[in-house]
């Protein structure tokens, strides 16, 4: 392979990778303000709380599989200042409302029907959850739902953040 071919291939690959990773919310950065993204539903008061923002959709099986475990997390940590917000990216209301009626989650849910918030956050996979500290800074990102290992990691991280002084 000649030098020119290698150079062009490298530049092309770099450009593609850079474009795909551009704009992603990263660790240590403030999470985008949730208001102003035309989210359907009532946003709870997050001030001074540890927040887990979970992006999900009804067409995503692992997303739905995470709901029972996330309900447990909400019940376990809510009295200590934790709140879980599930942000659906379903474009249509029907499947979203049907799932919520059936499951009745113990945590607040909103719908990003216009997919404005998720386009700003640019999640790497579905589902992806962002754990924010009491100041709204992203402290961990969980890409995908891997059952017990994800829940175990989240439980430890949430407990650690709740112990931090505000």
């Amino acid at each position: 392979m000649s030098y020119t071919t290698k150079l062009i291939s490298g530049l092309t690959l770099g450009l593609v990778l850079a474009l795909s990773a551009a704009g992603q919310v990263k660790l240590g950065q403030p999470f985008p303000a949730l208001a102003g993204h035309a989210l359907e539903g009532t946003l709870p008061d997050f001030s001074g709380q540890v927040v887990l923002v979970d992006f999900w959709a009804t067409w995503c099986a692992p997303c739905k599989a995470s709901f029972p475990a996330y309900t447990e997390l909400q019940r376990e940590f809510a009295p200590r200042g934790f709140i879980l917000l599930a942000v659906s990216v379903d474009k249509t209301a029907g499947p979203y409302e049907e799932f919520l009626q059936r499951f009745k989650p113990a945590f607040p849910t909103v719908r990003d029907a216009a997919q404005k918030l998720i386009a700003e956050v640019r999640v790497p996979a579905m589902p992806t959850s962002y754990l924010l500290d009491r100041h709204g800074i992203v402290r961990s990102v969980h890409s995908g739902y891997h059952g017990e290992s994800t829940v175990k990691a989240l439980r430890e991280e949430i407990a650690r953040l709740l112990e931090e002084k505000s």
Binding site: T5, T12, R122, P124, G144
Partner: protein, 73 residues
């Protein structure tokens, strides 16, 4: 001459990547994840296809790897 040809080829690939191709973002895969996208959604079609496959190749089965295009983990 060879360098020019490689350069031309590289530019063509770059142009295709920049203009003709797009990445379907993870949150845009609702249609790809629809059950209708599964190649084995219709048992009758699957049985017929399996029969044709057996007739052509004298082989059957071995279709255990599945999954649609949702890209979910």
């Amino acid at each position: 001459m060879k360098i020019k040809l490689n350069l031309l080829l590289g530019l063509a690939v770059l142009a295709a990547l920049l203009t003709g191709c797009t990445t379907v973002q993870p949150w845009e895969r609702a249609t790809l994840a629809d059950p209708k996208m599964r190649p084995d959604r219709d048992p009758l079609h699957s049985a017929m296809f399996e029969h044709i496959y057996f007739s052509c190749e004298a082989a059957t089965g071995g279709r255990g790897v599945g999954g649609s295009g949702c890209g979910c983990n």
